[in-house]
Symmetry: C2
Subunit: 375 residues, 2 copies
């Protein structure tokens, strides 16, 4: 049992460029909320029967006012994460032998959620190396092919995807889907809380966000926005317990996670206004990496802080270096830089979101030093 | 937006007898873990692809060693809560037009999970007022009736239930279910982390626990224990992403909640050894309440800290008192006592778990004062 109890986090004070983590770093307010509301079920002090109806603390206001406004959609619900939100939608819309159309840049959890919901999956191909672009017209082709096989109940587009950080033309994909009367779900796990997302303008019937990924919240928590057309499917009530919503098992993020989201919310509203600066910084970083022959794949110029790089140089070094393919991880760790997956050298992703330029200079300097050391 | 940001918890320093909350109060270690691991996705620093395989922090050890040992079952998984665990089991076992048999003392979320899984629900009746006992032989009757209507894929027993805190004869229910080849799920949301639970000895095929309810953890998090017979159903892998388990959408409690569970785990192992003292204290409290004509319903003598009371006296007072049926809540609030639902007087539940005897004396004194004031 020596193993358990309080455990230190090794990477806590490192420069963090892990795409999973840059947008989930807590605000000071959220850190205070953790301690204030950490005890299990603390948010239920004054519950009248359903999480989203709790007025003290103001979960009601968050779900029924602030989030619909933030996302420009009719309704929102809290979920236990983005994947749980996708599953809720797929499960609510599922029919036997039906199909879901998803982009081939989708996160694995989109695929797994569809499998769990018992849907057949048709993948829309991307353009392949080096852009991996999702083109709207490919949705039309895939839909045409798939509708011969069965009923399509949903299309999913990842906005942006978690590999290349590509932002596809969601409006155009939405138009195509709607021509076929197929609702569109936008997976915005890397967007909501980082950049402005306007569900109605993008033509999304459903939008999905992740608190721990992009909303400065402790995990797991997600948000689901949807329009009234699909509200009946999603908010179906229990036959016996009239206030409980079946698809959300009554209540979802019933704990401290929602209090960190509430604590960080004013900050999110402010930070999405500075999205252009984040994009500029990402482009600057990409340019500096390319000066070292570390090539950024995906959208170019890039429109998001999540970037995928390819480096033949680092790969060559890894063949001879002590530590083999772990050499890069070790060199970065020595410099207290966290976020590039251990063992990767040829292809890796990172995020510059909310990382100060001075810290990014240190990261760039580290790559320069590494090349010099092994040249 | 003035509404959001950091919010104080009004009841934080109150004497807390809320059944939802007494077992979820964090340990000091868990409070430290909150700050150390609060950032979103912090536990994924060294992830190889699945939450339960992470060795740093020791989630692997928790799920694959400590929890199976703690519960005496073959396998465990983390979930986003007890209801999500019940849904996972029901969803994994579901068939079209099939049935689940549940006790009529079940938590609403058991019912809602079954509805979400598309199962028909047959309820096993309790004995009614004043004991509300679940008798094992009633399972046989309900199963006999139900199997005429269709396939029964699962039986559920709540151990103890969340209304009366009754601990039914699980072994006997299990024997009956197994005679019909029906697997039994024990919902131990009010047991695991409070009292010793031995899944194999109780004859449970599945056991479900709640971190935020009874395991001194921040929410939402739950645990699911199961035996190898059902492991194939529950741990089915994605066809495309070979390490991802479909029924858990890849990963479940992927955040700070699991770190509070790990931090509190050594404490849980110790505290369940003192369960007898908790039962003695509950019985003592019940006796003192009955001296004031506040009658405890359910099992008697009682075997759990969660107790349901009936008071005709308080109900009579509420008819005339200022504040009407809210008078009791207000009187208790004035004395900084939290946990009896606002508006209740005639029937209410409370928990004495981990509440010091001195604090319970204050609660008893409060009831005495209230009776005197309004007599």
């Amino acid at each position: 049992m020596a193993n358990f109890g309080f455990i230190k986090r090794q990477t806590k004070d490192f420069i963090n460029i892990d795409p999973l983590q840059t947008g989930g770093k807590l605000t000071e307010e959220a850190r205070k909320a953790l301690i204030e509301w950490g005890d299990g079920y603390s948010v239920c002090d004054f519950c009248g029967g359903r999480l989203e109806e709790i007025k003290r603390p103001p979960i009601y206001n968050l779900v029924n006012e602030a989030l619909p406004d933030f996302l420009n959609c009719d309704f929102t619900r809290l979920t236990n994460g983005a994947r749980e939100a996708k599953f809720a939608v797929m499960h609510a819309l599922r029919r036997d032998d039906a199909w879901v159309v998803i982009d081939s840049n989708a996160h694995y959890s989109t695929y797994v959620a569809a499998e769990r919901a018992g849907l057949n999956i048709a993948e829309v191909p991307n353009t392949g190396y080096p852009d991996f672009e999702m083109r709207a017209e490919k949705y039309a082709e895939t839909i045409e092919d798939t509708k011969k096989k069965g009923n399509i109940v949903l299309a999913v587009l990842t906005y942006p995807d978690g590999n290349y950080g590509n932002l596809p033309d969601a409006e155009k994909v939405s138009q195509i889907c709607h021509e076929y009367s197929i609702p569109l779900l936008l997976n915005c796990a890397y967007a909501i809380g980082r950049m402005p997302i306007n569900a109605k303008q993008l033509g999304a019937d459903f939008v999905v966000g992740s608190g721990h990924k992009s909303m400065a919240s402790a995990g797991p928590i997600g948000v689901l926005g949807f329009n009234k057309e699909y509200s009946k499917n999603l908010t179906r009530k229990s036959e016996k317990y009239k206030v409980k919503e079946v698809e959300f098992l009554g209540c979802t993020a019933r704990g401290v996670t929602v209090m960190t989201l509430i604590a960080s919310f004013p900050h999110l509203i402010e930070r999405i206004k500075r999205w252009d600066e984040e994009v500029d910084k990402a482009r600057w970083f990409s340019k500096k990496m390319e000066e070292m022959d570390i090539i950024q794949l995906g959208d170019k110029p890039h429109n998001h802080d999540l970037m995928f790089f390819e480096s033949k140089g680092l790969y060559e070094i890894s063949k001879k270096a002590k530590g083999g393919r772990y050499f890069l991880y070790k060199e970065l760790k020595k410099r207290r830089i966290h976020g590039i997956k251990a063992g990767l050298t040829k292809n890796f992703k990172l995020s510059t979101y909310m990382v100060e330029k001075g810290q990014l200079e240190i990261v760039l300097g580290a790559f320069r030093e590494i090349f010099e050391k092994y040249s």
